[in-house]
């Protein structure tokens, strides 16, 4: 754990001990990412421990999605290191990250409109018999996946294009949550969900957390953070500006930190 002291962000050190002396599941150090003229990430350090939920908040374009996409292998950082369970890794792509049990619900969902519900649930993980798709098995398992999350979709053979925004979001969540992830990243998973469905997602987060999964939750619904998160990191213009244990903060404090009037420790 000694290496944790190299964190540049002063706010992180006391928090780490609060979580316990475990090796972080994910540790990012000095992550930078540029898109042309946009400095999307300007050196971000972040730690994520087993069994915790980290809330990631910040203004639009603060770099939250970019940072989590780096963890899920979707983007390769320009600089900085990624450690998984204490070991420095170079994620080569999404397949690599998925192989390491890192799953992500993307803000834009990443569903294939022309493929049916069950096909999207198993996208990239098709159950097969030889070269053939095992449809019967996928239908049965897919139904279980949705039932486990209390997602109601009458027909699994409906093409995703015909579903409502919330149903689509539910499918993306089920896809990420159902294959025993160790790290579950959710980028605004509840933006289109109705009351009951939001509750179900928050329950899901608490449940997977209890089973040892690390969760990163990005959301603009700040009140949700207080129901599931253990820690909150605030991003501003491509940097992490603050980190708070959930018991040391409140809505007002967070709002100030997000808009940039907070006291940066």
């Amino acid at each position: 754990m000694a290496t944790g002291a190299s964190l540049t962000d002063g706010g992180a050190s006391p928090l780490r001990s609060a979580v316990g002396g475990t090796v972080p599941r994910i540790r990012l150090r000095g992550i930078r990412k540029r898109f042309g003229s946009v400095d999307a990430l300007r050196g971000v350090d972040l730690e994520l421990f087993p069994s915790e939920c980290l809330g990631l908040v910040g203004d639009n374009a603060a770099g939250k999605s970019t940072l989590t996409k780096i963890i899920s292998g979707t983007y390769i950082p320009d600089a900085g290191t990624i450690e998984i369970d204490g070991e420095v890794v170079r994620l080569t792509g999404p397949a690599d990250a998925r192989g390491r049990n890192i799953e992500m619900v993307f803000q834009d969902l990443s569903l294939c409109d022309h493929i049916d519900v069950v096909g999207n649930l198993f996208l990239g993980r098709e159950r097969t018999r030889g070269p053939f798709l095992d449809r019967a098995r996928m239908l049965a398992e897919g139904r279980q996946m949705l039932d486990a999350l209390e997602i109601r979709i009458p027909k699994l053979t409906t093409r995703v294009a015909q579903l409502s925004g919330g149903q689509r979001q539910a499918i993306a969540i089920a896809r990420a949550a159902s294959f025993r992830p160790k790290v579950l990243i959710m980028d605004e998973p509840t933006s289109a969900l109705a009351v009951a469905e939001v509750e179900a997602v928050l329950h899901l987060i608490n449940r997977v957390k209890a089973s040892g999964v690390s969760v990163i939750l990005i959301t603009h619904r700040l009140q949700d953070l207080f129901r599931v998160c253990d820690r909150i990191a605030v991003m501003y213009e491509g940097t992490k500006v603050a980190e708070r244990a959930i018991e040391n903060t409140d809505l007002e404090d967070l709002v100030k930190l997000i808009v940039g009037q907070g006291t940066l420790q």
């Binding site: 397949a95 294939c112 022309h114 996208l123 798709l133 009458p154």
Partner: protein, 334 residues
């Protein structure tokens, strides 16, 4: 107080009709063409002529089946006609040099696959638009074929085994038709029931989503051009065998016929949605129109005009029907 009741599930047939409307409409159009020509040309609905249509349609069906895969990835392969010409020329030269015909056939498959791989590499790994890459292919491959043959047609004779590929019949049915039906069947099963087909559809529907779930998106895109190249090679062999010669002027405009067959069948040029059943019907429709007009003694020059106009009309009607349905649906939601 209002009761909270679940929305009733409509009949499955409604979904089926919506999903398959385009295939159904091309099927209706095909039947209409058949009835029209049966009434207009005496010889049209005879066993001899039907077998003739099937033999004629075979190479187009093979190429159109592969083209369906290409178009499902939102790509296009304009080089297939030129590739057929090149295969024609090279196969004829190799056979004239005395190489054993089975070896020549295998070598042609390999050549078609390699050319497809080369084009696929530019498209998938170098991000050059498929339209440009295969347009260059169209020019280059035809040029190579012309260069090799100096523009002459090279006769193929004394290799009955090779010629049989284009001319033999099995229980009265032309061998090319049987081969083409087998290719279409493989295509049908592959696109709907196999993991590979699912990957092709996923890449065409949302390439970034496919990449994010860990599919080898670039390789999948490249692979459809290999499939297209191998199928064009098969069609080229078939044509050379049927005509008994290898000509660098073979299959001019073939790529457009293949694309027309695929689009007529209801496959979307935007990618993601494709149907081999539709492609089969589209191919047969084009073959029937071509054959019927000849039997009606309409000038072959006119045939091209009519074929083009019919294709435009059919696709126009199809698009109209679909956009109407779409608008109605949106209004209901609003």
């Amino acid at each position: 107080m209002t009761e909270y009741a679940e929305r009733r599930q409509g009949p499955d047939i409604a979904d089926f009709l919506i999903d398959n409307a385009q295939v159904l409409s091309i099927a209706v159009f095909f039947v209409a063409c058949t009835i029209f020509f049966s009434a207009s040309a005496d010889y049209f609905l005879t066993v001899g002529n039907i077998l003739n249509i099937l033999r004629q349609a075979a190479p187009l069906l093979i190429v159109a089946t592969a083209m369906t895969f290409v178009i499902v990835t939102a790509g296009i392969d304009l080089s297939v006609g030129s590739l057929i010409a090149l295969i024609n020329a090279v196969a004829a030269i190799a056979l004239a040099a005395g190489l054993p015909w089975p070896l020549v056939v295998l070598a042609m498959f390999a050549l078609g696959g390699l050319i497809g791989l080369a084009q696929g590499w530019f498209i998938a790994y170098q991000d050059v638009p498929a339209f440009i890459v295969t347009l260059a292919g169209l020019s280059i491959l035809r040029g190579v074929a012309l260069y090799l043959t100096k523009g002459y047609s090279i006769p193929i004779s004394g290799v009955p085994g090779f010629l049989a590929i284009g001319r033999a019949t099995v229980y009265g049915i032309p061998l090319p038709a049987i081969i083409a039906a087998a290719v279409a069947l493989v295509g049908y099963v592959a696109i709907g029931r196999t993991k590979y087909g699912r990957q092709v559809v996923a890449v065409g529907s949302n390439a970034e989503a496919a990449r994010r779930v860990g599919m080898p998106a670039r390789w999948i895109v490249a692979s459809v051009y290999i499939v297209s190249g191998v199928c064009a090679a098969l069609a080229g062999i078939m044509l050379a065998a049927r005509l008994g010669s290898g000509s660098s002027n073979a299959a001019v405009g073939f790529e457009l016929q293949a694309i027309a067959a695929v689009v007529l069948g209801g496959t979307s040029l935007m990618g993601g949605r494709g149907t081999i059943l539709g492609t089969i019907l589209g191919t047969l429709t084009i073959a029937v129109i071509g054959n019927g007009l000849i039997l009606m003694h309409i000038s072959p020059f006119f045939t091209q005009i009519v074929t083009g106009a019919i294709i435009l009309a059919a696709i126009w009607i199809n698009t109209r029907i679909f956009s109407t349905r779409f608008r109605l649906k949106q209004r209901k939601e609003g």
